[in-house]
């Protein structure tokens, strides 16, 4: 039977998928062709995406569909010949985007209907949980995870089994233990966790319940960030379905194990991605980190033993339980096992969600899967790990994806943000962007972070505005090291990384800003100088008419001149000149 499925993750909807759905539904209703949804297919750059299935087989994928395409699609679907849709159909190059990936955490994303537990079960869902509850001991479960080599996918890469085991062994004071999912995905440029929850919420629930059993948790809590309303709706729905199906609540799958799950919506604070701050927030306080020790495994939520992992970590667990730890451990490198999901964005040709085995090189991902840089520009660097990470220069793209190898570059694996930059991105500006972020997100508790990141931001700002001073680079370095050493939690301790890595690999850009008052990437407006070349200007007056500051003088058919003192460096003149008479440097 023929049916269609529309990719409706947040970004599909943002791109217009829901509108496509409402346009298609009435047209296909007559033809008796059902319209279903799925979550994020991962090819964000091709959204909205409409998949045509014959029974369980995907026969054609339509991309960049708009409402206007609906009649044509309906007409083609009514007949046998789909070739009328060739123009909308995905190209082989784009298909390679998915084919080069190895999807475990994302295995159901873009395939199952996230609103339907039966669809999940049909894909082998909840088999892992059933297996665990039909006779495995807690130690055995943890052992499988240990063998798999699964490490925390939130960024730090701490072995998952170790945390589980610590929480399992830890004595509860009043009988409660908590399993918490950190879905406060705050790195700007990372959206893997959102995609998993929106696209495959039961996978998360199953992974969490396996973990809950392993540590002996009495309650599971998912802390979802406030900016993800769709994820909350889908997860709420899934929790209800799972509870009804006996995967949550009392005597799960008929076993002695009981554990329920609830969602706690965050309220907008990046620092709550730090596990102790997250616990503070769960308890209804300001999200300010606690001192460690004690670690959450000893005294976490309500001072009881608590285990916290992020979404992607849990999303790997059901697969590991059904396929075995060894199978998972076969993928990856000596020190990093399995796969990792990345949100590939920035100046890359094909952006979206990418899951690859550890050990692939950055080049494989960015060029092999992502297709390289848009508009034929030169690649400069990739930013990994968000505000805690760093920029890895193009010259080092043979670095393999591995916790250790990435850490050696000064960046980190991070939660999976991979923002690709071309030659037009100023690296000082990039560092400033992240410090602006951390300054705003610092909780304000400790001095090194509260004032230190603020001062770093201020120094970077003056450099990008042409007011950099001699000694600023050294001052940045000294301050960065002190902030790393002195800050209380991970946010502050890693906040200087974007500055340190750009200083390490792009020091010449800093020097150019400070000494020559030039921005080599032509991004820092304060350092730009637009000029009209008299030999090329024919006096068409276009630039003068477009200049919002009225800073261009000249009469018709005479070369024009920019009054530099009044120029606001907006670039309108350059954009409006059709004779190549205006340059910027």
């Amino acid at each position: 039977m023929r049916r269609i499925v529309i990719g409706e993750g947040s970004c599909g909807i943002a791109a217009g998928a829901a509108k496509v759905q409402s346009a298609l539904e009435p047209l296909l209703k007559e033809a008796g062709i059902p319209v279903g949804i799925t979550g994020c297919i991962g090819m964000c750059y091709l959204e909205p995406i409409v998949d045509i299935y014959e029974d369980k087989t995907l026969v054609r994928r339509l991309v960049r569909v708009s409402e206007a395409d609906a009649p044509a699609i309906a007409a083609a679907l009514a007949g046998e010949d789909l070739s009328a849709l060739d123009a909308l159909t995905i190209q082989p190059d784009d298909e390679a985007f998915l084919k080069k990936q190895t999807r475990i955490a994302l295995r159901n994303c873009g395939i199952v209907d996230p609103t339907d537990v039966i669809d999940y079960e049909a894909r082998g869902g909840y088999e892992g949980l059933k297996k665990v509850l039909s006779g495995m001991s807690q130690e055995e479960v943890i052992d499988v995870i240990k063998v798999s080599g699964l490490a925390g996918r939130g960024g730090a890469g701490f072995p998952t089994w170790f945390k589980w085991d610590a929480a399992r062994k830890s004595q509860s004071k009043n009988g409660s233990k908590y399993l918490i999912c950190n879905a406060d995905e705050g790195d700007p440029g990372a959206f893997m966790d959102r995609a998993v929850i929106e696209s495959d919420p039961h996978n998360l629930i199953e992974g969490m319940m396996i973990g809950a059993y392993a540590i002996g948790a009495t309650e599971a809590v998912v802390y979802v960030r406030a900016e993800y309303p769709l994820a909350i709706v889908r997860l709420e729905n899934a929790i209800e379905q799972a509870r009804a199906a006996g995967y949550l609540g009392r005597n799960i799958c008929g076993s002695d194990f009981s554990c329920d799950m609830r969602i706690k919506a965050g309220a907008g604070a990046f620092v709550c991605g730090e596990e102790t701050a997250l616990i503070e927030s769960l308890e209804g306080h300001r999200g300010m980190p606690r001192l460690k020790p004690p670690f959450p495994a000893q005294a976490g939520y309500w001072q009881e033993p608590s285990n916290i992992n992020n979404v992607e970590t849990y999303a790997n667990v059901p697969w590991i339980l059904t396929h075995g730890g060894e199978t998972y451990a076969q993928m990856g490198t000596e020190t990093s096992k399995g796969t990792k999901v990345f949100a590939l964005t920035g100046k890359v040709v094909r952006g979206g969600l990418v899951e690859v085995p550890m050990g692939m090189t950055l080049r494989d991902v960015i060029f092999g899967i992502g297709g390289g840089i848009r508009d034929g520009r030169k690649c400069k660097a990739v930013q990994m790990g968000g505000p805690s990470g760093g920029c890895i220069p193009y010259e080092m793209f043979d670095t393999v994806i591995d916790y250790k190898a990435l850490a050696a570059t000064g960046a980190i694996m991070g939660s999976g943000g991979m923002v690709v930059m071309d030659e037009t991105t100023c690296m000082v500006g990039m560092a400033k962007f992240f410090l602006d972020f951390t300054t705003k997100e610092s909780c304000g508790k400790c001095v090194h972070c509260r004032i230190g990141t603020k001062r770093l931001y201020e120094i970077l700002t003056r450099i990008t505005e042409g007011n950099g001073r001699e000694g600023d680079i050294e001052l940045l370095e000294e301050l960065c090291v002190a902030v790393k050493d002195g800050a209380l939690c991970g946010l502050g301790q890693t906040a200087p990384n974007p500055v340190l890595t750009t200083l390490r690999y792009f020091r010449d850009e800093y020097v150019a800003h400070i000494e020559k008052k030039k921005c080599p990437s032509l991004e820092c407006a304060a350092l730009l100088r637009y000029e009209i070349h008299a030999d090329k200007c024919i006096g068409c007056t276009m630039c003068a008419r477009n200049c919002p500051a009225k800073a261009i003088d000249g009469t018709v058919k005479k070369p024009h001149v920019i009054r530099q003192a009044d120029c606001i460096r907006c670039g309108q003149c350059l954009a409006s000149c059709r004779f190549g008479a205006i340059t910027v440097e």
Binding site: F191, G266, A267, Q383
Partner: protein, 167 residues
């Protein structure tokens, strides 16, 4: 936090929320979220009512309400523009979009236009990176923005609001 503003909110709207959550430990954030859903923001008298019901000190309630960016202590405009400050948006020129909004509406982050129509708020990554630069207005996402496109969207909203006011 001063009560001298003589604010009077209809606290009966909040009663069911307080009834359900006030006694549940750790529910302060949830209560504030629900309160904001009701009132559109968190009026001072509502914060005091929450404090009284939960037993938290008003100082603590205000501390929590001012820690999280989701909470607003002032009413927002008819259109809440959430401008994404994510990395991909930055790389793809979100600063020019901010500038365009500020030039068109005369407001900066956190401010509301005098006519009460628009509030601009910088937000952390909205997660639509492949559509960057992105803004979200009252739940609707607008992607691959250019300054011109942004201005067009704002003007059409203004027009729409004008029509609604007349009609």
């Amino acid at each position: 936090m001063c009560q001298c503003s003589q604010q009077k909110s209809d606290l009966s709207l909040l009663a069911p929320v307080l009834e359900k959550y006030a006694a549940v430990p750790g529910s302060l954030i949830t209560i504030l979220q629900k309160a904001q859903d009701i009132y559109g923001y968190l009026p001072t008298d509502v914060l005091y009512a929450v404090a009284e019901a939960t037993g938290d000190s008003p100082a603590k309630v205000l501390g929590v309400a001012t820690f999280y960016t989701q909470f607003r202590l002032q009413p927002v405009g008819k259109y809440l523009i959430m401008q994404c400050q994510g990395t991909a948006c930055h790389v793809n020129g979100s600063e020019r979009i901010s500038k365009a909004i500020t030039e068109e509406l005369g407001i900066r982050d956190g401010e509301t236009t005098a006519d009460g129509l628009f509030t601009l708020k910088d937000v952390a990554c909205l997660g639509c990176c492949s559509l960057s630069p992105v803004m979200m207005i009252n739940g609707e996402t607008y992607g691959t923005l250019t300054p011109e496109k942004t201005v067009k969207i704002l003007r059409s909203l203004k027009e729409q609001a004008g029509k609604e006011a007349q009609g």
